[in-house]
Amino acid sequence: MSFPILTVTAAVPAVGAVVTAAVPAARRSAARLTALAFSVATLVLALVTMARFDTGGARYQFTETHTWVKNFGLHYDLGVDGIGVVMVALTALLIPFVMLAGWHDADPLEDVNPNRRWRPTQGFFALILLVEAMVVLSFEATDVFLFYIFFEAMLIPMYFLIGGFGDRAHPGGEEEAARQRSYAAVKFLLYNLAGGLIMLAAVIALYAATAKQLGTGTFSLQEILDARAAGRLHLVTSTERWIFLGFFFAFAVKAPLWPLHTWLPNAMGESTAPVAVLITAVVDKVGTFAMLRFCLQLFPEASKWATPVILVLAVISIIYGALLAVGQRDIKRLIAYASVSHFGFIILGIFAMTSQGQSGATLYMVNHGISTAALMLVAGFLISRRGSRLIADFGGVQKVAPVLAGTFLVGGLATLSLPGLAPFVSEFLVLVGTFSRYPVLGIIATLGIVLAALYVLVLYQRTMTGPVKAGVEGLSDLKARELLVVAPLIALLLFLGVYPKPVTDIVNPSVGHTLSDVHKTDPKPALEAKK
């Protein structure tokens, strides 16, 4: 039996969570360093997996298969295709930065606490590691039910991260902050739980259908695909559509797609910047990833049936998110709405059903993760310095903190997809992929780029340029720890902006597989994808 590297990649952060939580209350720095060490170890494992991934090899690699609960048809099946391995690597990459950026976010304000069991710092880092473990497992799962379990279970640690460790810089003061935070956490949980429970009904229906036709119910992606290829499994059109809708609903809430996005601005606005990054750059990616992995593969016909509606919703997301971002007065909510717009692009790329579109969408997930992390984390540094997140409270920051302003600008330019920075490549691919099949939608979606320039540049102009506002004079520039967070992310944005080949090479064969699942070929004449 070969080394179960996928299990280990998920187990390391899970064990790390337990170890971190067990560190005594007073040893906060020990807890932080422990958590960081575990997250770096996870990153190493993820990179090893990516390096050893054979792009010309089997579709799913490093597979592990065990039966977990026979009666439920639940298997512990892991395996990664090119898309999965990249998403695992992205997750493992971002977590250390999230931790470094949130180094002191969870420290108790006063050191005297009567209860020695109350350990917020330990809890904060343990929860981040727990989320990482569950996200990694959901990227690796090739059993529908196994995926569902972690898809749902990750909500709980995420919920505590949002509700328990909110932003201290709230315009309405401490009391209002607590109220808003708890509201945001509950909204996050209820939206996602409702989505997940609808999916549960669909999962059960899938089991009933397979049990009826195959004799024993199964959730194994491989078994289902094999049975369908062999003609032993055929879902009735209406059944397939209903089950597809159940799955898609859950993923659309998570992604989030308009009109199910309303939890995101609350959750990102009220949580600390690192947690906001965790939500939008890591957890939400599970939603778009699952559309590629499960919706398209399991329900190709229904996916094609629903494509027109989904594409329109995606375009609405792009425009609506961008318009609302333009109108925001709160920096974090602005970034949240920008993310809604970007998720629209990702979903557009996935459901355009062209190889450029899907490669672009996968690349977009990676690039959006990195660029949003850079922008949001710098914004977080800025907000915690000033103690406010309202755009109106800032002005002329580039005069007092030039490095901070400069990195903020790079993050912002990446968000608006400036050529030379990574998101440009993916956005271009998505739009090309969409144009070749749906020119009108492609043209409308392009408007999103124009609006992106508007909300990013106006944000920069209002906060960074102009005369130095009262309250901004004393702001210090980025510290060494903060530079350590931002510099690698920016370097990565530049690198993937000019040389995306390492990622596209891994992703492209898997996209080809996915497209052949839905029996779609690129329309002719096709524009050449970046090879």
Binding site: G163, L200, I204
Partner: protein
């Protein structure tokens, strides 16, 4: 098919042999070994009464606790031994002249009830939580049940340090009745078992040390409504007898199928479908009342709130197990031929139970009432599994009941810990910030709430998945969809409690968390362990439930 059925034109049973012949009085044939769990419990309960009568007051507590624990453990061992011998599967048959079934579902549920009873004894015996009264440790029960609340007699009893140790024999009698209830194989045994376990519960409900008036009120409510539902059940039994001329399950089933010889004395009524349908409806009302299904759920919140919390936990867990067992047997053994008549009705009841339970729970402000409405919603989920009418349905319900009862016991045990000057602080606002004050207790309660909400990796999820899967395979997909919608609603109020505990600032005059004795700690720890084990590795328990899912006919 029981042997009694072949003995003559008149269908005999334990209940009818004595009445039908005047010249002979045959000894009933009883398989004592196979009924040993029940006999042990009743024997020990009677011993408990003798202890109460003849032992000095200061020794009673120890004697009673030891007796109860030993009795329950011995009965559980007897159940396991019976299952080992194959009475749950191949040797399953009907004992005591057709009165009691010894089969898989019966043994599984009896085992569950005995374990629940054992854990309940731990919580009943807890004496560290309440402050000492006049130098003596006291438990959750009234000093003297018969004393008027607030009267001189009660004050004297409290001063004298009296404690109500008769709760242990009462508990054992209730457990005994519950053991028979899901195993009952004729309607009269069913009725007697119902009364045997209900009467001790009525008394136990009235015995709270704090909030005596509320406790007594809850007992009266429970008693009146319970008596009402018993009357329904009894009237239903009479009508079913009129329809079939017998009270045994197999006999009635045979008459429904038209394969049995009928009683000539009842020629006018036998086979009258009106009698059958009305009788069936009335029997079902009696059982649904005990289950706490809508619209017969009205008693649950008041009784759950007023009863002493250890009793509430026991009642919520064990009554549900026993009543669902009886309901399953009735529907699967007596009425499989009638499924086209009862399924639509049960659909309606299940849907109403899930939705009403979940929606009304949202507005609750008392943690015990909240758990009461949550138990109503859970009854709805279990009903969804009952409706499946196949082997999967039975096994999923068995699994759900086992999973649910330990979560419930644990949750109510945690409720006994959170206290202020007036005893337990059950108002939800008092729980604000508990996560800061006592992270461990709040985290444990959080685990129970997540299990109730059916979050993956807890036993609640495995159970919910099992019953919904059975329902979907039985063709009840709409029921599954309504089930997940009410789960989403239910998740809201469980999460609200978590929000309150972890994200609200603790109140300066908030309740404190009492440090329990090892007894309650053990009950809670067992709840957590079972919740996680059945959530992470449910295969063993599913197999067990699967093996135990065939009713003997």
């Amino acid at each position: 098919m029981s042997a009694a059925l072949h003995s003559g034109p008149v269908v005999h049973s334990l209940w009818t042999t004595a009445a039908s012949s005047t010249d002979r009085f045959p000894t009933p044939h009883i398989e004592y070994a196979q009924l040993s769990p029940v006999l042990i419990i009743f024997g020990v309960a009677m011993l408990g009464i003798l202890v109460e009568a003849f032992t000095p007051r200061r020794h009673r507590y120890t004697a009673q606790v030891v007796l109860a624990v030993v009795g329950l453990a011995a009965a559980f061992a007897a159940v396991v031994a019976l299952a080992e011998k194959g009475y749950g599967t191949t040797k399953a048959h009907i004992a005591a002249m057709g009165a009691v079934a010894v089969d898989g579902p019966a043994l599984f549920l009896q085992g569950t009830i005995l374990l629940v009873g054992l854990v309940a004894v731990f919580t009943f015996a807890e004496r560290r939580l309440d402050p000492k009264a006049h130098g003596r440790h006291v438990d959750s029960f009234a000093a003297q049940g018969s004393a008027v609340p607030g009267g001189e007699q009660e004050k004297a009893a409290v001063r004298a340090g009296f404690t109500t140790t008769e709760v242990f024999p009462l508990l054992l009698f209730a457990v005994g009745g519950m053991l028979v209830f899901p195993a009952a194989n004729d309607l009269l045994t069913l009725f007697v078992a119902l009364e045997v376990f209900s009467l001790p519960l009525y008394i136990l409900c009235a015995l709270a040390r704090r909030n005596r008036l509320m406790s007594q009120e809850s007992a009266v409510k429970y008693f009146l409504l319970g008596a009402f539902s018993s009357a329904f059940l009894l009237f239903g039994i009479a009508l079913l007898y009129g329809y079939s001329g017998t009270v045994t399950y197999s006999g009635i089933s045979a008459v429904i199928d038209g394969t049995a010889p009928t009683n000539p004395a009842l020629d006018n009524t036998t086979g009258n479908d009106a009698l059958l349908l009305i009788g069936l409806a009335m029997v079902a009302v009696g059982l649904l009342f005990k289950v706490g299904a809508v619209p017969f759920h009205m008693w649950t919140p008041d009784v759950y709130q007023g009863a002493p919390t250890p009793v509430t936990g026991f009642m919520a867990a064990a009554t549900k197990v026993a009543a669902f067992g009886a309901l399953l047997r009735l529907l699967y053994v007596v009425l499989p031929g009638m499924r086209w008549d009862w399924r639509p009705v049960m659909w309606g009841v299940a849907i109403a139970t899930m939705l009403v339970g979940a929606v009304i729970a949202v507005t609750q402000t008392d943690v015990k009432r909240l758990l009461a409405y949550s138990s109503v919603a859970h009854a709805g989920f279990i009903l969804a599994g009952v409706i499946a009418v196949d082997k999967d349905g039975v096994s999923s319900v068995l699994f759900y009941l086992a999973a649910y009862s330990f979560v419930t016991l644990g949750a109510f045990a945690v409720v006994t810990l959170v206290r202020d000057a007036g005893g337990e602080a059950t108002h939800l606002s008092r729980w604000a910030g508990l996560g800061r004050r006592s992270p461990l207790v709040a985290a444990v309660f959080g685990v129970f709430l997540l299990a109730f909400a059916g979050i993956p990796l807890t036993s609640g999820f495995a159970g919910k998945f099992a019953v919904f899967k059975a329902a979907a395979q039985g063709g009840a997909m709409p029921l599954v969809i309504i089930g997940v919608i009410s789960s989403a609603v239910a998740a809201f109020f469980y999460i609200r409690v978590i929000v309150l505990m972890f994200f609200s600032e603790p109140k300066p005059d908030g309740p404190s968390v009492a440090v329990p004795s090892p007894l309650t700690s053990m009950a809670i720890a067992l709840g957590v362990v079972v919740t996680l084990v059945m959530g992470l590795a449910p295969q063993y328990f599913l197999d067990l439930a699967d093996k135990a899912s065939v009713f003997v006919r």
